[in-house]
């Protein structure tokens, strides 16, 4: 049994079901990538895993425990971290305060984790007193990831972390994500930049219209001609 499992996820935003029984699982120390066309329901699936969507059916398990009924704040306490696709920083709060909010559920000393995050993203250290809303897109993305890391998550879910970020920074970002995975975290990434992401991935899912279309190792998906034709642009 995988570390984080979502089975038969079905539900939407009150209207028609956006997710139609999709299943996603992530392992510790591994990178799992979800790709798919715009509007496939990738972000919706992430929200479902974090308890921010009313599911009509389906289950979410973390480390074998059924957490389907838990509220998002309870999942944060269980060691889940999530970087949403949009609006993923507190704009009116400083960088440091954003990071502190990431550690909101922790009661112990957070200064070590803070230094770790600044070590990971040195650019943030100089900007620590600046409101996050005044940062550049790439820096904001770093704050968002740093905020999620502050909780020392066991699972880290990232929704398009490389969106709006230059190729160089994006490359660096993935390097960092690999580092984080090596530290024992289960990583689940949604990526628009499918080729780059699948190259790193231990496992990949192709989601179409709320259903799993293809599943396999990153290399297998990259090698699958059908996947390449429809989703990787040849």
């Amino acid at each position: 049994m995988s570390f984080l499992v979502g089975e038969d996820l079905t539900g939407g935003y009150g209207g028609p079901d956006i997710l139609q029984g999709c299943a996603i699982a992530a392992e510790r120390r591994e990178i799992t990538v979800v790709v798919g066309p715009n509007g496939a329901g990738k972000s919706t699936a992430m929200r479902a895993l974090f308890g921010m969507l009313k599911l009509r059916s389906g289950k979410v398990r973390l480390d074998g425990e059924d957490i389907t009924a838990l509220a998002p704040q309870a999942r944060a306490r269980k060691g889940m971290g999530f970087v949403p696709q949009t609006d993923n920083v507190f704009r009116s709060m400083t960088v440091q305060e954003n990071l502190e909010m990431g550690a909101f559920v922790r009661d112990d000393d957070i200064s070590d984790t803070l230094e770790e995050v600044y070590g990971l993203f040195p650019a943030l250290k100089d900007k620590r007193r600046q409101p996050a809303g005044e940062l550049s897109g790439g820096q904001r993305q770093q704050v968002a990831i740093g905020r999620a890391l502050m909780n020392r998550p066991r699972v880290l879910m990232l929704d398009e972390p490389s969106a709006g970020v230059s190729p160089i920074v994006s490359h660096e970002l993935f390097e960092r994500i690999l580092d984080i995975a090596r530290g024992g975290v289960a990583i689940l990434i949604v990526e628009q930049n499918a080729r780059q992401a699948l190259e790193l991935a231990d496992k990949g899912y192709v989601l179409v219209q709320g259903r799993n279309r293809f599943t396999g190792t990153g290399a297998a998906l990259l090698g699958n001609p059908e996947v390449r034709k429809s989703f990787l642009g040849g």
Partner: protein
């Protein structure tokens, strides 16, 4: 030269001092509106009545203390009763949240439904208050009336214009400053305060950071209730307490909150002073002031008043209109949607 000093004293006495006291009261009221807006995302029409309720509880308790012969000497007894008023009002806010607003929060009702509900609540509270204390005017100030009297000032300076400072005016300023400092310390430095700001900034992100929405909402209501009780009591001490006045205070309070940017606490404070100073300065007859500054023995013909005091609250409205037309998010950029 002495004329100029007299003119300055005149303006200080009739404009600056009263406007400062009024500004403090409005700022505290507007803080309540802006906090509720930031966290619960609706304009609370019941804010005026919440202030009225707090003042009423304080007055009732003041009477009780007075009947026991307990007092604070030169300070108004109401100051001793104020913590009770704050506590009871905070409790009332929690109760109304539980009985009224929570349901709509759970069902994710549209903001305008919250608005209608708060109007309903406003009238229930208005009726209840008049039921308990009656519609009449209540003066409950005791202790020393003036910190500085006109006579003392004139004897001290030898000027022909006097300056008086009422105890209640000083009290408004001191209490407001203390509370605002406390509030900002709470919002900036404490964990709960930061979680409140985070929730107000980005609700979803706060949730997935582990912030409990019900706790944030409860803390917000506690603060709003306590601040409203203080604002209402200070207003009542400074002028007099009459249940009907709080209905018309709603407009300047909203104007103050919107000028500063709904959801922005600092903006609400600045907005409170902008509205208070505009109201006082634009309705003051400048005849005597100009007479001091003009040539010897000259006096302007009319009152030299920009607007009659009858239209005092029209000024809040005009400020509001200008802000809505020019910068709807307010001077300090609150939330626009």
């Amino acid at each position: 030269m002495e004329d100029v000093v007299n003119a300055v004293v005149l303006v200080t006495n009739f404009l600056v001092v009263p406007a400062t006291a009024y500004g403090c009261q409005l700022a505290l009221g507007a803080l309540g509106v802006t906090l509720v807006y930031g966290v619960l995302r609706f304009s609370n029409f019941a804010q005026g009545e919440t202030m009225s309720f707090g003042a009423m509880v304080t007055i009732l308790f003041t009477w009780l203390l007075q009947s026991w012969g307990v007092g604070l000497g030169p300070l108004p007894t109401a100051l001793l009763a104020l913590p009770v008023g704050m506590g009871v009002t905070a409790g009332l806010c929690l109760l109304t949240d539980r009985w009224v607003f929570r349901f709509y929060r759970r069902t994710k009702a549209q903001p305008v439904i919250f608005l209608v509900v708060s109007v309903g609540l406003m009238f229930v509270m208005n009726g209840f208050i008049r039921f308990v204390i009656g519609p009449a005017d209540r003066v409950f100030t005791d202790g020393t009336r003036f910190l500085l009297t006109v006579r003392e000032f004139k004897a001290f300076t030898g000027l022909s214009e006097g300056l008086a400072i009422k105890t209640t005016q000083t009290l408004s300023l001191v209490v407001a400053v203390v509370l605002v400092v406390l509030l900002f310390w709470f919002l900036e430095k404490t964990r709960t305060g930061k979680s409140m700001r985070a929730y107000s900034d980005n609700e979803d992100l706060a949730l997935l950071s582990g912030v409990s929405p019900e706790k944030v909402v409860a803390v917000t209501w506690l603060i709003v209730g306590a601040l409203a009780a203080v604002a209402g009591t200070l207003y009542g001490l400074d002028k007099s307490y009459k249940p009907f006045t709080f209905l018309s205070l709603l407009l300047p309070i909203f104007a103050a909150a919107i000028v500063g940017g709904l959801g922005n606490p600092l903006g609400a404070i600045v907005g409170g002073f902008v509205v208070a100073f505009s109201e006082v300065f634009l309705t003051y007859p400048y005849r005597k002031f100009l007479a001091y500054l003009g040539p010897e023995g000259w006096r302007p013909d009319g009152l030299v008043q920009f607007l009659s005091t009858d239209y005092k609250f029209a000024i809040s409205f005009f400020i509001l209109v200008v802000v809505l037309l020019v910068k709807p998010t307010g001077v300090f950029s609150g939330k626009s949607s």
